[in-house]
Symmetry: C2
Subunit: 140 residues, 2 copies
DNA sequence: AGAGAAGCTTACGTTGACGTAAATGGAACG
DNA sequence: CGTTCCATTTACGTCAACGTAAGCTTCTCT
């Protein structure tokens, strides 16, 4: 095992390194820890983030881009990291995940609708524009 | 006396009728007015919502389902109701809409990824479950 | 006339996801 | 040795999108 504390294989990262890597603030990482989304280990006072934390943070940030709440994300993370859970817990988590999946597919359907609507509106307005400007091309 | 109101063409609605029709609260409608998303006319003190307001509210609620902010929705509404705008305004609005569209398509792509990820995670955990429970079917 | 019901305005409260400031402490540098 | 730089904790501030309560008018029904 290469668990050397020395910098050869740097398995853990400081808060600053994390911030630079993921483009978040220290506040955000501490906040996520307080909400039990991350579990950095401590070296004295200071936090050290493991690759596990990095994997989780990656998923957290992706979840956020869809508008999932941190609480919802926490549940998804539980799913991802549920290797040693009990079967009953697991199947309950599966239910949560299935619901989430249904939500996401609904959302995708609506998103598709909205995309098409927006597209047609855009071309509609483009037509108006060419007409207004004396049916010449309206590009600058 | 049951008021037949004014003409037989009742194309304005009271705040309560609006609330019932769209399942929102009065507070919400007043709030949207204060944010210039709706423009009900006034009969004395009271608000009267036109079909234009109803069309806008419909779009507002749809936009909200995607997680658009009210401010973003306001911009989209400007697009929808830009019939009498200037060409320059219109083309600037088109830019906004094009950006939004790009956002939505990015979001759609990510959502697709996430859906697939989640699906595979789910079946993965399902397999774990059947294994844990002694490779019998793990109903309930 | 009195009691509701419905609407209005004003304004403070709430939740989620952090921002930001203040006070503190160890480490590195010149 | 003092200064600067990170990091930490504690705690109040913020923004969006309303909720909710207080207090006032106005209409309607009995």
């Amino acid at each position: 095992m290469t668990q050397a504390n020395e910098p050869m294989t740097q398995d853990t990262m400081t808060i600053r390194e994390m911030c630079d890597l993921f483009d978040v603030t220290p506040r955000t990482l501490r906040f996520y820890e307080s909400k039990e989304l991350l579990f950095p280990i401590r070296e004295g006072q200071k936090r050290l983030f493991t690759r596990r934390d990095r994997a989780r943070l990656k998923l957290i940030l992706r979840g956020k881009r869809f508008g999932f709440s941190l609480e919802e994300i926490r549940q998804l993370l539980d799913l991802y990291y549920a290797g040693d859970q009990q079967a009953t817990q697991l199947s309950r988590t599966l239910d949560v995940a299935a619901e989430r999946l249904a939500d996401m597919e609904r959302q995708r359907a609506e998103l598709d609708l909205a995309i098409n609507d927006l597209k047609s509106q855009i071309s509609l307005v483009e037509d108006m524009l060419t007409h207004i400007t004396g049916h010449k091309d309206a590009a600058e």
